[in-house]
């Protein structure tokens, strides 16, 4: 059993107060005020937004589980979600606004009132605006409901430079889907899939409960799952076959896959003819990518590629090539993810069981049903502020430009840090971040730190003194998700739905929710009229005042869902839908399909196998394989992935999760380790072009010989988070800040040399 670290600390009398700094919660002795019945809400331990329910009991215990009403999660939750209370009462949590008093990064802060904090920020923001223009302040957030308010504030202030975390995570696949389908948010019908190709989308470790459940259900029903991943992941362990593909070369596999589909005529001709454009151009662009040629690139034999293609096609349309999530493997993400998007279309698996489908919002669903099935609850009630008439720093606002497939609410986040340093196209003087920790998550961390130090104003909204917050001028402590109410959100799947986050306990300390922070600061700065609501309840009422009953249901169940599931090309689903909503017959086409739903927001209105916009913008209309050359001959590929018990840079300091894992040993192939004389736990120095890190090694048979792997989210530099401080390594110090073509994603693979120390 041994003595646990924390007991030991208690034993020697080091209470957390001693190691603390102003603004931190410290040992929480108070009483949590909340409901003893389960309150339905939404998790925020990662950005997935799984439906949860939580209760507080008389012993101050908070218990969190999945919302039983959710068909997608059926009460399931992950370890991070279950640990919400550990974050809520974490002694290291910030519960008071803090103002920097020492040098930037020195870690000297004093507690201030909200009003003092607002005053300081508003004076500074106005000063910067006067001197350099509002555009020289950038605002960034992790995706989430708080963005609604932050973006409104930013536009109200007058800057066009708003960002989410997209380019360090999903922008690769989202841009590719937008290129092909005109929308970045297609859903995957995992549960009904019969054959699945997966390229390192580790749904069992990068946990999204509905995905994990879906894949598990499919496997139970006999789905064939092929995992192409340089390391043996938990998903690989459940797959029928693990293929250790060469890192960063997945696009090569996909080119050969498409080549085989087309030249062996395995594709769905009818679907291609009816719903797509650009097939001939695709055929032309892919003709030289034979399996034989591509096999050398991706290290999977031509026979294997061909047999997998044939097998996959034999299950069409109930098969899927998963487009992944954290699409940051190579600078050629756009070609790789677009190849996946296109291959799915060639298989004709759109709007079919086990394939991909478009989420169906209330408006579209009601239209097709020919009657009002679902209430139309407004997404936001905020008055529309016109986009500030200034060019953005990242060019995503250039119409028809290379980056025009990236939404303006997303942008190219890592560009901010580059711009602060090189002042091109113009200087950035102020930065506002919320739920973001760029020192951990943006490539080339050392440069990020340099950039943060250069700012005139750096405001950070966070629950922790994070690696990035430690450089801030002002830190605003946000209420955690368990302590705040939010507006209604749509939650569409095969049928429309809504969900809502509701507070489980009263806020601890002096924290505030986003809807309040931005409103109050805007009032202070003279544009409070852009936030016309009294509180969040008022906001909600304005969203849905027409639907009192639905509001009641939504609040008591936490989520609602209307109508019946609809897949626009699945016979069974269509029959049920038409039976239920007879008016919908008018929308059936000659094949008995709802082709209306497959109308894309692309230029042609169809699924585009060749992208004219990108062709014009940067000559990337066709699929093209470019070897990304991610390492030198004698080097290793350094790759990373998610672990089920942590969320990226966010949770290393949550006590329960830290207790499960507080370090990330680097996986190295057993044979290589033997050659180098490395044993488990030995330290190595890992060096790339831009930086170095020290790490412990974990020799294993579960990885390619030319590859090293680490879970990310470790190697924290904020000493105010002492249980995670300095433990493990952070690959962001090794990565170059590359902005990839078209998708603008950061690249998380790099060549490294290692040395035993």
């Amino acid at each position: 059993m041994g003595i646990h670290r924390r007991d030991f600390l208690k034993g020697v009398g080091l209470s957390s107060a001693v190691l603390s700094m102003p603004g931190m919660l410290g040992a929480f002795e108070g009483k949590l005020k909340g409901s003893q019945k389960f309150v339905k809400s939404i998790c925020e331990m990662c950005s997935t937004r799984c439906p949860i329910e939580a209760r507080v009991d008389e012993n101050n215990r908070v218990f969190i589980q999945g919302n039983i009403y959710s068909k997608a999660t059926e009460g399931g939750i992950c370890a991070r979600g279950g640990s919400g209370v550990s974050q809520l009462v974490d002694p290291k949590r910030l519960v008071k606004p803090l103002m920097r008093v020492g040098q930037r990064g020195e870690g000297k802060f004093k507690e201030v009132s909200w009003d003092e904090a607002y005053e300081y920020i508003s004076v500074k923001l106005k000063e910067i605006k006067e001197k350099h223009g509002a555009k020289s302040v950038a605002f960034a957030s992790k995706t989430g409901p708080d963005q609604t308010f932050m973006n409104q504030f930013a536009y109200g202030f007058g800057t066009p430079n708003i960002f989410d975390h997209g380019n360090t995570c999903p922008s690769g696949y989202a841009t590719a889907l937008t290129s092909v389908y005109g929308s970045g948010s297609l859903s995957r019908d995992f549960a009904d899939c019969k054959f699945m190709l997966n390229f390192g989308h580790n749904v069992y470790e990068g946990m999204v409960i509905s995905y994990a459940r879906g894949v598990t259900k499919a496997l139970e029903k006999g789905c064939r799952l092929i995992s192409l991943d340089p390391r043996f992941s938990v998903l690989s362990s459940k797959a029928d076959e693990w293929i250790p593909i060469r890192p960063g070369s997945d696009a090569a596999f996909m080119m050969a896959f498409i080549h085989t589909l087309i030249f062996e005529e395995l594709y769905d001709k009818k679907f291609v003819q009816k719903y797509t454009v650009g097939f001939e151009k695709l055929k032309e662009s892919i003709k030289d990518y034979t399996p034989e040629r591509m096999a050398k690139e991706c290290d999977v034999s031509a026979e294997k590629i061909i047999s997998l293609t044939r097998e996959c096609a034999s299950y069409a349309p109930h098969c899927m090539i998963d487009f992944g999530h954290r699409a940051t493997f190579t600078p050629e993400e756009i070609e790789f993810r677009r190849a996946i998007a296109i291959a799915n279309a060639l298989l004709g698996n759109i709007e079919t069981k086990g394939g991909l489908y478009f989420p169906k919002g209330a408006a579209l669903y009601n239209k097709i049903a020919g009657q009002k099935v679902a209430p139309i609850i407004k997404g936001s009630i905020l008055p529309k502020v016109p986009e500030p008439n200034e060019p953005r720093i990242d060019g995503v606002d250039i119409k028809g430009g290379e980056f025009s497939k990236i939404p303006k609410t997303r942008g190219i986040y890592s560009k901010v840090y580059e711009t602060i340093l090189n002042e091109k196209p113009y200087a950035i003087h102020g930065l506002w971040i919320t739920r973001s920790n760029p020192v951990m998550t943006v490539s080339n961390s050392d440069e990020v730190v340099k950039a943060l130090k250069k700012l005139d104003l750096f405001v950070c909204v966070d629950v922790y003194m994070s690696d990035s917050a430690q450089y801030a001028d002002i830190i605003l402590p946000e209420s955690t998700y368990l302590e705040r109410d939010e507006h209604f959100l749509s939650d569409d799947g095969k049928n429309p739905g809504y969900q809502v986050r509701q507070k489980v306990v009263e806020p601890i300390g002096d924290t505030r929710a986003s809807w309040r922070i931005y409103k109050e600061l805007a009032q202070k700065m003279g544009f409070g009229d852009l936030f016309p609501y009294k509180d969040i309840e008022d906001f909600r009422m304005q969203q849905a005042y027409e639907y009192p009953e639905e509001i009641y249901e939504l609040k008591s169940k936490g989520l609602t869902s209307y109508g019946i599931p609809l897949l626009a090309r699945d016979k069974e689903s269509i029959a049920k839908f038409v039976e239920k909503y007879p008016n919908s017959k008018q929308f059936l086409d000659e094949d008995g399909e709802f082709s209306e739903i497959l109308k894309c927001k692309t230029k042609s209105g169809k699924i585009e196998l060749f992208d004219e916009v990108l062709e014009q913008a940067c000559g990337r209309g066709a699929l093209k394989y470019n070897d990304p050359k991610l390492k030198g001959d004698s080097q290793f590929y350094f790759i990373q992935g998610k672990v089920a018990v942590h969320t990226n840079g966010h949770t290393a300091n949550v006590p329960w999760l830290n207790d499960l894992m507080d370090n990330n040993a680097v996986w190295i192939n057993q044979n290589v380790a033997n050659k180098l004389g490395l044993k488990k736990g030995d330290s190595i120095k890992i060096k790339s072009e831009v930086g170095e890190q020290i790490a412990q090694v974990l020799p294993t048979v579960g990885i390619r010989e030319d590859t090293l792997f680490a879970y990310f989210g470790f190697g924290h530099t904020s000493k105010w988070q002492e249980i995670s401080y300095g433990k493990g390594m952070n690959a962001s110090h090794l990565l170059k800040n590359i902005i990839s073509p078209v998708s603008g994603n950061n690249v998380h693979t790099i060549g490294v040399d290692i040395e035993k120390i």
Binding site: R6, G66, G76, I77, L660
Partner: protein
Amino acid sequence: MMKYAMVFNSQKCIGCQSCSIACRSENKVPEGLYRLQVKIQGPKGVFPNLAFDYERFSCQMCENTPCVSVCPTHASFMDENGIVDIDANKCVGCLYCISACPYHARFLNPQTKVPDKCNFCKDTHLKLHGEPACVSVCPTDALVFGDLDNMNDPIYEILSKKNFTRKKEHLGTKPKLFTIPNKKGEIKL
């Protein structure tokens, strides 16, 4: 009167630790100690044909209970539903049960000073919500809880259809925690 039992399906388990956290949360398990842990072991095999093993470590709810038989005060007991439990009032702190358990399922709770272990959430989630916390949160439904004496219980069907193993069966402890072995991790003799 029930005969409560649990199935741990290691084919479905992904080692995500949700169960372990839910257990900690619901049963006030002190930090650093566990009523339940799931370990991912491996990979083993010959590259690239590898497998992980997913193993649950918790009280096995033995029918022949070494922990109960060594307890001098009957503080350790099996209740009418087959749950092996500890009566804190009767415990004298001799810790015999901790050493007697062949599964290392028990630990001394530093807060209560009484041996602690999984009791199927008897006083907590089971009592309040009808099933143990770990079962209710498992994202992949790798855990199934039920009554062995009830032929209509889903657990009955699972155990009659699937192969299962029990840990250290040779000791004759007759655990009521059943494991469905991982197809890929199965050691074929």
